[in-house]
Symmetry: D4
Subunit: 244 residues, 8 copies
């Protein structure tokens, strides 16, 4: 959101005309189907990210083009199969991460953060979500450390890497099934823990609900939760905290 | 429903025979599989609309034919793929809207309403539902104004169009995910707001339940809700209110 | 929300100082615990209404006093027992409706609407919610017609009053248990129907969920739904539509 | 279950040896994968019916052969596609009802009941379930009367057939969406009403849950409910009551 | 519902005036808060029953008085504590059943049915609901046989009474917890089984949901279900079937 | 259940009359409200236990008396407040455990098992359920070892006692909130783990559902689950396994 | 988990260097995507089992190779179609069980247990889950006895095999729909009962939830529950108890 | 968790005896009912906090005493009424916050953080939870800024304070009903947003579920969620992030 008071001051001083003020207050490009938010980077520190689900390939290419014209880096999540080739054709320098359904266009490497984000996951089946988190954090400039397949049924696998995890500034913990790993990690570190429930499981896992509830009810302090399978959200938030 | 007291009066006066009275009380055509409601326009102001889900192509064509024989305008919703070609073959002047799964047969353009219906949607992924609402309202004679991709994470996109929205007599707000947009719009306008939750989202959106609950619990007054993805219902109701 | 463009113009012309503009942009009184919204009447056509649940008696009296100082009419909903006496002591001209948990302070009778709102309810047990809707609509200036205990298990009770209902411009239908009444009414009238599920029922009514789902899935067009037991919301919206 | 006291008496009298008694107590044929219940007709008045879901084609043919060897009539429900041809090849005199997924082998027409079962359904989309109920009742010997597409949004369609329905001894009412039809029918007849919720609907119908809850909470007395889409169960029970 | 065709005929013949016809079409007494349905006995074979929940003592006494003035027998269910004394004071010949929360006023003993209704319950804790069913059936004229505390964890307790149960024309089965008893009984009898889930249980019984689901999914044929704790509904339906 | 074949043999040999056989097949005492299962000890290794919820004090005393007359040891669970004094008055040698709502009457100390049952609980708030499990196992003859307040947020508290736990033959793990403890314990021991979710928690713990789902989805093998707060069930099963 | 105290002692005595101690504390092989737990057999009595869902074929082959290099027997569950051929190509002596989606590599036949595990299932449609349990128990060395298609609607089918079941040391009961079988079996045996709900059913079975709730609320003592369709978990636990 | 490698080194060097090492590895005091975690401050940066729900007054006082003996500052949450007086008697310098059910004992004021935490809440009814968050953060040393009653139905109330909020390093957003506020705030700031759903609402708010789902599905990036009404968890995490 533009700084209203600043614009008011500049209107008052005659520095801005009324029309110029209105344009600055708007801050988006209208494609008809989409209003691309060019103001987001100034407003909350990172460019708008494209949510791919439910968008046609043409819409995807147009939105990505609009963003790329202003912000040199663009990230698209949950890119649907039909949109992959059109996007890669339009943006040959974009990178596609199939397992995590991400497409990243990085023309300006951001200055890397000086501290790391740990990405811990409970089982190999949670890898696509964990990678979505890890790639997002890296894309936004946070170096990451991956500790994968460290579920609570074999605690020694986690404890072997606990010093590595403790050396990070933020910890992302990804788990499906009962979602117990964030509670155990949360009891062992003093960094903020971002818990990501995954839809891995069957039966009474209810597509990740069991893991989500487990994480929301964590008996460890310092843990917060994002949506089921929302690796992007965790990576985004981890980078934001890591850069504080 | 026929006017029972009027029919009673006319039976008493001899104007109607008992059989004629019985026929008038019935008011539908029986196709065996379906009882097509020819009385609905007189009863609640708009012709019966065909719900396409679960009906065979043959049933669809027969019902549509029955309605078209009496009412010049027919609307079919959620038309399943197998029924599209048979319907378009039988009614070459019908129009198919693929994204919204509507087929409209409009032989008599209704007198347009003198006020407008606003259709606001939160994200590009909500477009199919928003368009179902918009086309329905237009089909029934209400001019519409579309404000798309105006979600609450970039408020300036909504505020830029708020004067346009305020100029409408009824406002439809379509949103998935957390369904917050109707609350924000409801706080900014003094028109009735019809909220439509969509199934856009993932994880704990539970196919639109999160958006539905958000809208039912709206802290803004003047908001009511229709079923998840029920663009048709919103467009129908908006036109009804717009024509009061 | 104040008219930003108008304020900008007046700032530019020097009609407003920067500070005056900021005050006008604010539009609320800050009581510490509450920010009382004095701008709401201009913004959406009715004064702010006080939601009584979870507020202390002192907070209630202070908020009510702040609103009463600007807007002569004040409505409080879901007033908790402990707050009743303090409010009535502070505002002796206020009226308390115990069954519906409303307190109304009406110092200026609004010009009555020229059309009526019908309030139909399914059973005697739904009366408190129906009355909350009816009193709210009357408070805001819409005359109402009550048709109570007209549930679908005895259709003749409804049909006997159908002409009365059809003469109204908006219809509120209140029902618990299976919530079938709005579908039946919706098939018989051409006015907008606002359905209010109540928590009346037991067992698998789940505190009104059965009625809520029934209403959301209504096979009748022209029906929209508000939250369980939200008589206030229905009355508010009905008046808004009735005054269009 | 065999008559234990009778067998005891016959063992005591020497009429039965211990082994013969054990065989009679068993009352089923063991196919390894299935224990086919040959005793069911004597125990609860109708032969075992085969639930087709989750069974392989070979299992289906073997179970059907085992039942056909003792009971001349066999009914299979929810027959999966892969099993249809093998069954029809093995039992050329069987009849397949595709919409309702039934296969019936009727070698002995039962004496027809002297009273009728009404099968009422709300919409054309509910036909497959209604037909499953109707065919089951007919298979077991109850004549049926079908009143289809008589949903509550067009009450006159139901009222036109109410005398036909009242002439039946049992009434099955099939409905999806809000499931309101059984309440309305239940208020108009004095026969037992068996309500069948269907999974027809979308959004907050949750695959038939809304209709199920509506029916369980029916304000009309004399209504009971079977599982979602369980047309077979309704037809079976209707015949049982009809033959009392 | 009055016989519309008959009234039409009598209007045509001059036997009825228009006003008399309207009165007959109405068939209820309007108490303001309630529309007491005097037509129900003719329409569906039993007088209206008063649902006590959510009604004030005054309303209860008035409705009961209205019904008692026309129908000599009146039954009130779920009578709330505050209403018991006022009702018993107004109707000294009424009987109160505290455990089942029923009040019955029986001035005309109906001709008893010639066959019996079995009421089977799983545990002693289910007694209040079982008794509500049993008293209702007796009130309406069906003799009953009670088999209590016959849960499936001690099958011999059920089998000891199976001949008694089999001698009845209808069987009500009341169970909480896992609700397995109707499936077992349903496999042993050839009478219709009305299953009543109770809210007895704890933890994952969710107030009777586990029992309800168990009964809806019964693998035994011939079983239908009423709402949780709805003993009245089961008794009412059992009598209706028993009198066929 | 009595040994049917044995009784058959004895009937055949004339050792039993038909009446005697019938009596032996029954195996319960009928108190009217309850059928007390005197056969259970022979059938499944432990006397019937009285579920106190929903039973009147008089019923409790009568059932307890019936059981005590045959089986010297009696256990009652979830004893409601009103029943405590009457029971203790009738059975002065009974012991009441208020926190766990148990009353135990132990006149014959069973031969103790030679191996131990571990009862581990996550937090102090889970103590009432853990104690219900522990006292039940002790009552049935299994020595127990308690390791309390060993939740996963402070792993060292668990690891400090892991050797003690490993020395037991069966492990009961009681936890509320996210219910993660059974997964961690299950990964550290080779004994069967019985997980007991408790209703301790708030918000999205939903009365123990979060813990229940966590335990059902445990990534550790060798874990099974009982109902929420069902300490009795866990203690009973643990003793059964411990005595194998 | 390694014996920390033992390692401490050996470090103190100089028997272990610090590095050797660290290696022993780790106990897993890190494949990057997976940390294969080589310590599990010593820790909880059986080798790690591979959960096939969500793993790529390459990951499956690598994990299986890692385990096979240390532990001669490997079991993979829920093997996805794409992984079957690669695994069988890499391990030609592995056995694939298609219905149960298991692949077993058994190079060392374990010493068989001297007692048996009963696997009872309710219907033929439950066979895949029952077989998953049975094969798992056999793989781990427990002989099994199968009693299939013994649902509660035909009790005699169960009673005919009850002696066979009673002769086993542990009983697994597999059932879908209402899940009543474990309660009935639990009332007839004195062995521990492991209940496995299956997703067999339709409508309000909700993918196995009805069966799961039924089992959790079992009125029989000595019953515990594993996740929906978790045949593996039941077989694993049954073997563990059987070998106590 | 103690630094295992460091202890190993010190054991190896003889600096620690085996017993001393064991003590250091334990790190808690065992009160029988509770294992008080004295190691938590070193392990995750803040002393153990006492969860008051379900603990007896005596347990509360003992745990608080154990913690106070080592860590000078102690915080107890959800303190139940019965425990308040005993605690205040035992620790006269403790402070009780009734609305938020906290008791704080602060003997050492921590060095305040140099940046602020914003606590924003939607309505006055959310104050108890917002205050729980604010007091927790202050207790741990983070200065806070409160912006209360800034719900989305009156956006200007939020926008008036947006500069204040943007000046904070972390933002806590507390909201009930539809829980839309975090999405709107998240779109306006570049700080991490911790969303706290409250149980404020009625009907389909389901005790905070609607708000929880709304927050989990937030379309704004940088938002994570804690449990319903978990003000403590939000304040704890906010301080942790604020001190990074």
């Amino acid at each position: 959101m533009p700084d209203v008071r600043d614009i008011l001051t500049r209107v008052q001083s005659g520095e801005l005309t009324l029309d110029e003020a209105a344009v600055q207050l708007q801050g988006f490009e209208d494609l008809g189907h989409s209003r691309v938010d060019h103001d987001r980077a100034s407003r909350n520190g990172a460019p708008e990210v494209i949510f791919g689900q439910g968008k046609t390939p043409t819409q995807m290419v147009e939105i990505m083009g609009s963003l790329a014209s202003r912000s040199s880096n663009v990230l698209a999540t949950r890119v649907q199969n039909a949109a992959i080739e059109p996007i890669l054709a339009a943006f040959p320098d974009a990178t596609h991460y199939p397992a995590s359904r991400l497409i990243a266009l990085q023309r300006n490497v951001p200055a890397p953060a000086t501290t790391n984000v740990a990405v811990v996951c409970a089982g190999t089946s949670d890898l696509p979500v964990a990678e979505e988190a890890r790639i997002t954090a890296e894309f936004l400039g946070s170096p990451t450390v991956a500790v994968y397949d460290a579920g609570v049924a074999g605690l020694h696998r986690l404890l072997a890497s606990i010093d590595t995890i403790r050396a990070c500034r933020v910890v992302i913990v990804v788990a499906g099934m009962e979602g117990a790993l964030p509670s155990v990690v949360g009891g062992l570190v003093d960094a903020p823990v971002i818990a990501v429930p995954t839809s891995v499981g069957y039966g009474a896992s209810f597509g990740g609900v069991a893991a989500l509830l487990g994480m929301l009810n964590s008996c460890a302090s310092g843990v917060s939760v994002v949506n089921i399978d929302n690796g992007f959200g965790a990576g985004f938030l981890a980078n934001r905290i890591n850069r504080l």
